[in-house]
């Protein structure tokens, strides 16, 4: 199936996601007990973040019987629990625009289908351009977005003031406004998928680190964890910034690198800011959550190498300066908490998803450039359909690891942070 066919069509998504009758009323544990780790499985998903859980859920929906998820820490411990919760379709490539349109629909429906409150708020996304170069970039992206059915508009300072009165428009060239973009609270998505997995017999094992793999030539034989080995010939690696480490256990070298990104949250105010406000030049983004807090981050190139989830005082300075240049009246608001998480960066700004030439039965699902959370609902569905029915082959060939050998690299200019 071509990608064009695959992404067309409106209407309800997560069609089969309605929980079986009465099950949502029962108290279903989101996680399994370590002693219940099975000795074999049809498919082992490594990584209990939203990407792995969404994939496991859709595999179960498509009838795969024994699916197991192993997570080295607690639910929401990685980037799925540390991101800003933005869900936007404003991207600069046709593939990302179309995929995110579908993901947005899945997110909008998630609370109803999964029976968990995700604090979904469709306040739009406002991208500010404060230089002619950025303006030209936004204009090109908006044209492509509109050609793909988005309601994104280019707006001037007057309109910006109408959409977000507190935003400073001095020096503004132009902005793009996508009214259908949204912000959610990320954690309930993780719990919702975990619950739906449990309801369908998928074991989600937290605090179960993978220590290695058993292979036989090009075939995978087992996933070895601290709690025991699981015999399987299908493995989905959905481990975000930890993917290079895990892939190395399989003798596979990934070009991804982790990059620490920090966020902070302020005390709550009554609602005053509808859209998420962002500037691609500085990487600033900021939105008001359903709890009333301002949540946001900013680009910071100078961070420690490798996997590092600590927070820094330097970030608070960088962020506050950029935020107050954009929303000057926020100066009196106090920062309550800050935290860090890891982006999973790839050399060409596009994900690495699909099978590999090196190992049969391995599917990579990583490299989402700090935007994996919003992509996960649609990616989980696509990857499961690919594994079970061989669908979406064209997309996963384009996004495969092989492109770094063949030189067929991709492009994306709307990466934040």
């Amino acid at each position: 199936m071509s990608e064009r066919e695959a992404t067309e069509g409106e209407g309800p998504l997560l069609d089969n996601a309605r929980p079986p009758a009465n099950v949502h009323d029962a108290l279903v544990a989101h996680t399994a007990r370590p002693q219940d780790l099975p000795a074999r499985a049809d498919c082992v998903v490594v990584g209990g973040g939203i990407m792995g859980l969404a994939t496991a859920f859709h595999l179960a929906e498509l009838g795969v019987k024994d699916v197991v998820v192993v997570e080295k820490s607690y639910l929401c411990s990685g980037a799925s629990g540390r991101n800003g919760g933005g869900v936007r379709a404003q991207w600069s490539s046709e593939t990302n625009i179309r995929l995110m349109r579908e993901s947005q629909d899945l997110c909008a429906d998630f609370a109803t289908r999964m029976r968990i409150n995700v604090w979904y708020r469709k306040g739009g996304y406002l991208f500010l351009a404060r230089s002619p170069e950025r303006a030209a970039q936004l204009e090109a992206s908006v044209q492509l977005q509109r050609a793909n059915g988005l309601r994104t508009e280019l707006v001037d300072a007057v309109r910006v003031k109408r959409i977000a009165p507190e935003v400073e428009t001095t020096g503004l060239e132009v902005a793009s406004y996508g009214p259908d973009d949204a912000v959610v609270f990320p954690w309930p998505f993780v719990w919702g998928y975990a619950k739906a997995c449990a309801e369908r017999g998928v074991g989600v094992f937290t605090h179960t680190p993978v220590t290695g793999f058993e292979t036989d030539g090009r075939r995978i034989r087992a996933v070895v964890t601290e709690a025991g080995a699981i015999a399987t010939d299908q493995v989905v690696l959905a481990t975000g910034a930890w993917s290079p480490e895990l892939a190395a256990m399989l003798g596979l070298s990934l070009p991804n690198r982790p990059h620490r990104h920090e966020i902070c949250s302020t005390e709550s105010l009554k609602p005053f800011l509808r859209p998420l406000v962002a500037d691609l030049a500085t990487g600033l983004y900021c939105s008001q959550s359903m709890r009333g807090e301002l949540v946001g981050g900013v680009s910071n190139e100078r961070v420690p190498e490798g996997l590092d989830q600590r927070s820094s005082l330097r970030f608070l300075g960088l962020y506050s300066r950029e935020l107050l240049r954009t929303i000057p009246r926020a100066g009196g608001l106090r920062v309550l908490r800050q935290w860090g998480g890891c982006y999973d960066l790839t050399p060409d700004g596009n994900p690495i998803v699909g099978r590999t030439d090196e190992l049969e039965g391995l599917v990579l699902l990583c490299g989402f450039m700090g935007h994996g959370f919003m992509m996960a609902p649609v990616m989980g569905k696509r990857v499961a359909e690919h594994l079970v029915r061989g669908a979406h082959r064209e997309l996963f060939e384009r996004w495969s690891l092989t492109r770094y050998r063949t030189g067929k690299l991709l492009e994306e200019t709307m990466i934040l942070g």
């Binding site: 989101h30 820490s73 908490r337």
Partner: protein, 92 residues
């Protein structure tokens, strides 16, 4: 009754919510904090962390080796003050 006992005053988390969270498999302090929201409000857990940790153990969860990861700043600080931090080229 346990739905009337407040454990975290900033976020209105009751003992009943802690019980439900543990029953749902949130059996360690980090997971319990996230699922119930205790310790994420104005005081950032200064008043409730020890109490919630004790209840977690009472309910048969994993005994925490330390409080949950503390999130700076220790006290709330206005953005305007933070914006005046000078850029230290040596800072991490």
């Amino acid at each position: 009754m346990s739905d009337k006992i407040i454990m975290c005053r900033c976020e209105d988390v009751t003992r009943h919510q802690l019980e439900e969270a543990v029953a749902r498999g949130h059996r360690d302090i980090e997971s319990l904090k996230r699922f119930t929201g205790f310790g994420t409000g104005w005081c950032q857990g200064k008043q409730c962390a020890a109490l919630c940790a004790r209840v977690l153990v009472e309910l048969g969860g994993e005994p925490p080796e330390a409080p949950f990861t503390p999130r700076p700043p220790v006290h709330p600080i206005p953005l305007a003050h933070l914006a005046r931090l000078t850029e230290d080229p040596e800072a991490p």
